[in-house]
């Protein structure tokens, strides 16, 4: 029925200048919208770079914070960088194996109805707001035991799990069935086919998905506020206690009234932003490379 309208519109040739003007206008709108989005990105990255670069020095990652710092005492956020390393590392160690196993089960073993209901569960998990994950882990672990790096890592792992599972599932689906069949026809058991024939093909995709998931959770603040935020200023690496993290440090410094704190927040934001932009670029590069490899193997 839309074709009918189109024919009628096309036959109404008398309105041509007006129609052309409308078309021009809409093209202009689309160009402007794209320019606006890029402009916002440029302005945002530029503000962070300009303000962050001034306060960026080696002290930021080697010194611990000095509270109420109105003077020039060398002050940094080494405790936050250490905490982020530990917590993101632990979260990856929790989410990565489970995510890969879930994807293997869904792609290689599950019946269709199980497949669709588990992927719905993954989508739902992916859609749960990060702050709700935070209070969930707070209720599960923190009440009665206190905050800890482990609780924060578990919260981040909840966010990573659907991302890792989904990206692994996508590359598993790209592995040609002929490869599996060839291996099975040679009498290789299914588990060995899966682990040593199918899985190595998807390694690039799994690495990409993991890198993207790490980039995503390294900047997450909301799940950590209730699980690992009430900390001192000393540097330590033990996840049995609450650890400071870079996003939480930026959040707290941004709420402060002290301009010296703002400068430090910008510097930490610059480091975080650089890390995330680099990991995203790497992941993008890996993705095109591994996809090309799988599709040419077919």
């Amino acid at each position: 029925m839309s074709t009918h309208n189109l024919t009628k519109a096309a036959l109404r040739a008398e309105g041509l200048p007006r129609r052309r003007a409308m078309n021009r206008l809409m093209e202009l709108v689309a160009w402007l919208a794209a320019a606006l989005a890029i402009g916002i990105l440029v302005v945002m990255v530029w503000s962070v770079a300009r303000r962050g670069a001034g306060a960026l020095n080696l002290d930021l990652i080697t010194k611990t914070p000095v509270q109420f710092n109105f003077g020039n005492a060398p002050s940094g956020l080494s405790n936050a960088f250490a905490g982020t390393l530990v917590i993101v590392g632990l979260a990856t160690a929790m989410a990565l194996p489970v995510g890969i196993l879930v994807a293997i089960y869904l792609n290689e073993f599950a019946r269709p109805w199980i497949r669709s209901s588990v992927s719905l569960a993954l989508d739902v998990l992916n859609g749960v707001p990060a702050i709700v994950i935070g209070i969930f882990v707070f209720g599960l672990f923190v009440v009665g035991h206190g905050q800890s790096g482990y609780a924060g890592a578990f919260a981040l792992a909840c966010l990573m799990l659907p991302l890792v599972a989904r990206s692994t599932l996508e590359v598993l689906a790209l592995v040609p069935a002929s490869l599996r069949e060839a291996s099975l026809a040679l009498g290789v058991p299914r588990w060995r086919t899966t682990l040593s024939i199918v899985l190595p093909q998807t390694l690039g995709g799994i690495v990409t998905g993991t890198v993207l998931a790490v980039a995503r959770v390294a900047g997450e603040t909301a799940p950590l506020l209730f699980t690992t935020s009430i900390v001192g200023t000393q540097l330590h690496w033990d996840p049995h206690h609450a650890l400071q993290t870079v996003p939480v440090a930026i959040f707290e410094l941004s709420e402060s009234a002290n301009p010296a704190d703002h400068a430090q927040a910008w510097a930490a934001a610059l480091v975080l932003l650089l890390f995330i932009l680099c990991t995203n670029l790497t992941a993008r590069w890996l993705a095109t490379r591994s996809r090309r490899k799988i599709t040419t193997a077919r």
């Binding site: 839309s2 074709t3 309208n5 024919t7 519109a9 096309a10 040739a13 129609r19 409308m22 078309n23 809409m26 093209e27 689309a30 160009w31 919208a33 794209a34 989005a37 990105l41 945002m44 962070v48 879930v102 089960y105 073993f109 588990v118 719905l120 569960a121 998990l125 859609g127 749960v128 707001p129 990060a130 702050i131 709700v132 994950i133 209070i135 969930f136 209720g139 599960l140 909840c158 799990l161 009498g187 058991p189 299914r190 899966t194 682990l195 995503r216 390294a218 900047g219 603040t221 909301a222 935020s229 009430i230 996003p247 959040f251 703002h262 934001a269 932003l273 995330i276 995203n280 993008r284």
Partner: protein, 323 residues
């Protein structure tokens, strides 16, 4: 050479390796699904004191008074609905325009880089957007945009007196718009890429302009998917806690003036992470989380249902087209 084991032609050999991989992987899948249930259970359990004390009236009551122990979600619900719907209303047309630019308009060499840049916007952590929002965007909006809107459209209560600090619902709306723009535009872009070429070329061959082709062919084809993209964007806006906490000003108020401060469900929870001591307050915070969880479940499941319906319909229509 040595003898080769004769293949068994009938029946399946019992392979412990197969069984163990299937069991372990199945347990992981079960655990992932159980996690969703565990989240729901824990949130419901921890908010029980609040909902048994305040009932459903909590959802609409606009009070949050830790001194008198009277809690309600009304003003936060108001803030959530206003900020996320306004952000969605601004972001959707922009996102669709960007997606059209990327699929129909941009020269080929420009498409890859612009797509990558728009997706980079989605990768910026919310705490960094919030930092920028409170220290850069907020003051600019307060000094230039809010006074201009107030003097031009001040007869509407929406555009009342400008904020004094730069923290306002309006700043939150702008920040949320920036955050959901790349989500809606990248889904729309994929939808528009899926519109069959012959339909588009057929319309152009009938003498339509490019815009008429978009209205007559691309939009009807992608309508369901755009609805799903909007729901997902709305879900993101509703659940965003950190950036909103940083820019909204954290007050318990219901005001028609967009330039006044407020709070949303998610930002209230984030702002209360320190100092929530007594049981009534903590369980009331978890009750806010329960409302958020219900929101996000409803939105996600409905978006998934729409996507599945669209995929099925498009699958059958292309198959019919081939036959």
């Amino acid at each position: 050479m040595t003898e080769i084991e004769a293949p068994r032609l009938s029946g399946r050999r019992f392979r412990p390796g197969d069984l163990s991989l299937q069991t372990v992987a199945g347990a992981a899948a079960l655990a992932a699904s159980a996690l969703v249930v565990l989240i729901a259970y824990t949130i419901v359990r921890d908010s029980k004191p609040a909902w048994s004390a305040y009932g459903l009236g909590f959802v609409t009551r606009a009070v949050w008074d830790p001194v008198k122990h009277v809690y309600g979600a009304g003003s936060f619900l108001f803030g959530t609905v206003v900020t996320s719907l306004a952000a969605l209303a601004i972001a959707t047309p922009l996102a669709i325009a960007i997606a059209l630019f990327l699929t129909e308009l941009a020269p080929r060499w420009l498409r890859g880089p612009v797509t990558a840049l728009v997706e980079t916007l989605a990768a910026i952590p919310s705490v960094v957007i919030g930092l920028w929002g409170i220290l850069v965007l907020g003051p600019v909006l307060r000094d230039h945009v809010e006074p201009a809107l107030h003097s031009a459209l001040g007869f509407m209560p929406l555009f009342g007196p400008p904020s004094t600090t730069g923290s306002s619902m309006f700043t939150a709306i702008v920040v949320l718009t920036i955050m959901i723009l790349p989500i809606v535009s990248s889904i729309s872009r994929e939808l528009f890429l899926g519109v069959p070429r012959d339909l588009k070329e057929g319309a152009l061959a009938l003498g339509t302009t490019r815009w008429e082709m978009v209205r007559g062919v691309v939009f009807p084809y992608a309508r369901g998917g755009i609805a799903a993209a909007m729901i997902l964007g709305l879900g993101r806006a509703v659940g965003e806690a950190i950036a909103v906490t940083q820019v909204i000003g954290s007050t318990v108020s219901v005001s028609a003036n967009l330039f006044s401060t407020g709070d949303t469900l998610a930002s209230k929870i984030a702002a209360s992470y320190q100092g929530a001591e007594d049981k009534a307050q903590v369980s009331s915070l978890v009750y806010l989380g329960l409302i958020l969880l219900v929101f996000s479940l409803v939105m996600n499941v409905s978006a998934q249902l729409i996507v599945r319906r669209v995929v099925r319909r498009q699958g059958t229509s292309t198959r019919a087209g081939v036959a």
